[in-house]
C-alpha cells in the first residue's frame, strides 16, 4: 500500500508524517508520533478516550483518518499543560481524585476543556450531557463532574 505524506499542525507545532489510508489519526498520534496521551478504548467512537480537537471541534481521533489531517490544526492532551504548570482542569482532577485507572482521563480533560472554552459557566446537567460520550468504568462519574464544575469556577475567577 502506498503511503501518503501529510503536513499538519499538532499542538502548535508543524508536523509531517507518512501514513497509509486505513490508519486512523489515533494510530498516527500514538504509533507514528509517539503522542500516547490519547488512548484507544473502543476504536469505534463510543468511549471518547481518544478525544482531540480538530480545527477547533471536539472529535474522536479513532473516527478520523490520518490522511484527513492535511493542513488541519490538531490539539491533543499533550498540549494542555503549560510546561510544568497543569491546566486548572488537570489540577482539579487530581484534587478531586477524579480518576482511578486513568485510561479515560485524557479524553475527559480534552472534552471538558472544549466545553469550558465554549461555555465557562455550565450547569451540572450541561456538563453531564456534554461528557456523555466519554465513558469511565472506575469513578462513577461523580468526582469527574465535581472536578469540572470546580475548575470552571476557578477559571471564571481568573478571567
Amino acid at each position: 500500500m502506498t503511503q501518503t505524506h501529510v503536513s499538519t499542525t499538532i499542538n502548535g507545532d508543524k508536523v509531517e508524517y507518512l501514513c497509509e489510508t486505513d490508519e486512523t489519526l489515533l494510530d498516527v498520534l500514538r504509533d507514528t508520533l509517539s503522542l500516547t496521551g490519547s488512548k484507544e478504548g473502543c476504536g469505534s467512537g463510543d468511549c471518547g478516550a481518544c478525544s482531540v480537537m480538530l480545527d477547533g471541534r471536539l472529535v474522536c481521533a479513532c473516527l478520523v483518518l490520518g490522511v484527513e489531517a492535511q493542513d488541519r490544526k490538531i490539539e491533543t492532551i499533550e498540549g494542555m499543560a503549560s510546561g510544568d504548570e497543569l491546566h486548572p482542569l488537570q489540577q482539579k482532577f487530581l484534587e478531586h481524585a477524579a480518576l482511578q485507572c486513568g485510561i479515560c482521563t485524557p479524553g475527559f480533560l480534552v472534552a471538558a476543556k472544549a466545553l469550558l472554552d465554549e461555555n465557562p459557566d455550565p450547569t451540572e446537567t450541561e456538563v453531564r450531557y456534554w461528557l456523555a460520550g466519554n465513558l469511565c468504568r472506575c469513578t462513577g462519574y461523580d468526582k469527574i463532574i465535581r472536578a469540572v464544575m470546580d475548575a470552571a469556577t476557578e477559571m471564571r475567577g481568573q478571567a
Binding site: T4, S44, G45, V64
Partner: protein
C-alpha cells in the same frame, strides 16, 4: 485503498465515475470508519468531500436553507436561522451520538447510511426536505424519503452522491418536532422515532402536516394517514387519538434486542402524539 480529497464537485464525480471498484464517500466518517474497522467494507477508493467548499456551507435559499453534505451536526446546531425555522430537524440531528460525534457526523451522511433507525431522517421527511443528487448526468432534486430503499441500501447510482439537502420555507404558524424512544437518557439508537411537521392557519386549524416514523420498518416511512388525521382539525384530543392510531397502524416493525413488535407499534402512536403536541406549542411561540 486510495484516498482522494477533491476540491470541486466535478472532480469528485469524476473520481466516482472512473473507479471500477468499491467506493466510499467520506463526510463525517462516523459510520464509514466504523465499517472500515469492522471489515464490513473494503473500499478501493475513499473520496473525502470535506474540501469542497459548497459542501461545507449552509446557504439561505428562497426562504429555506440548503445544507451542504459535509456540514457537521455541531455546525447545524449552531446555526440560528435553521434552529428557528426547523427546530425538529435540528433536535433530531443533535440526538445523533456524542459531542465528539456531533463534531464530525453529517445529516446527509445519516441519510445516505440508510439506517431505518437514523434519527435525522424522519425529521427531514416530515419537513418535506429534498436531496440534491449529483452525478455524471447532472443534478436532480428528489424527496429525501426516496434515498433509502432498505437497510444500508440507497437509490443512488454508482457515480452519484447527495450534494446537499434543502429544508424549505414555511408559513408563520408552523413548526416541527422529533422524538425517539431509547431505554436510556443518551447515546443510543432509536427503538422508535417520530418526526412531525405542521402548519396552522390564523384560526388555529391545521392546514398542512407531514408525519414520518423511523425504526418501525425497513426504511423511514412517510405516514399520510397520520397527517390526514391532523389536517382540518385544531389538533384537539380526537385528532391526536386518530394520529396515534394511524401511526401505530402504519408501523411494521421487527422484534429485536431493542424492542418487540408490540412495543414498537404502541410507542409509534405515543411518540407521534407527543411530537405533535410539541410542534403545536412551537407553532404558537412563533
Amino acid at each position: 485503498m486510495r484516498f482522494e480529497a477533491p476540491t470541486s464537485l466535478n472532480a469528485a464525480i469524476e473520481l466516482l465515475e472512473n473507479e471500477a471498484g468499491v467506493v466510499r464517500i467520506l463526510a463525517g466518517g462516523t459510520d464509514v470508519l466504523v465499517q472500515l474497522r469492522s471489515g464490513q467494507v473494503e473500499p478501493d477508493l475513499i473520496v473525502d468531500i470535506k474540501r469542497i467548499e459548497a459542501m461545507q456551507t449552509i446557504t439561505e435559499e428562497d426562504g429555506g436553507f440548503r445544507i451542504g453534505a459535509a456540514v457537521c451536526g455541531a455546525e447545524l446546531g449552531g446555526h440560528a436561522g435553521v434552529c428557528k425555522l426547523w427546530p425538529g430537524v435540528v433536535e433530531a440531528v443533535e440526538l445523533i451520538g456524542s459531542t465528539q460525534v456531533q463534531g464530525r457526523a453529517t445529516m446527509v451522511g445519516n441519510l445516505c447510511n440508510a439506517s431505518p433507525a437514523a434519527d435525522s431522517v424522519p425529521a427531514m421527511v416530515a419537513a418535506g426536505a429534498t436531496a440534491r443528487v449529483t452525478g455524471p448526468e447532472g443534478s436532480r432534486d428528489i424527496p429525501v424519503e426516496k434515498i433509502a430503499t432498505g437497510p444500508g441500501q440507497t437509490s443512488l447510482g454508482r457515480a452519484e452522491l447527495v450534494e446537499s439537502v434543502y429544508l424549505p420555507a414555511r408559513g408563520v404558524h408552523s413548526s416541527d418536532a422529533y422524538l425517539r424512544f431509547i431505554p436510556r437518557t443518551e447515546m443510543d439508537i432509536a427503538v422508535v422515532g417520530a418526526g412531525i411537521s405542521i402548519e396552522m392557519d390564523g384560526n388555529g386549524i391545521c392546514t398542512h402536516a407531514r408525519v414520518a416514523l423511523g425504526a418501525v420498518g425497513p426504511r423511514v416511512m412517510l405516514v399520510e394517514d397520520a397527517a390526514t388525521a391532523l389536517i382540518g382539525t385544531s389538533i384537539d384530543e380526537a385528532a391526536l387519538e386518530a394520529l396515534a392510531q394511524a401511526a401505530s397502524s402504519a408501523a411494521t416493525p421487527i422484534d429485536d434486542k431493542r424492542g418487540t413488535v408490540d412495543f414498537r407499534i404502541k410507542v409509534a402512536g405515543v411518540l407521534a402524539r407527543r411530537a405533535a403536541i410539541i410542534a403545536v406549542q412551537r407553532s404558537r411561540v412563533d
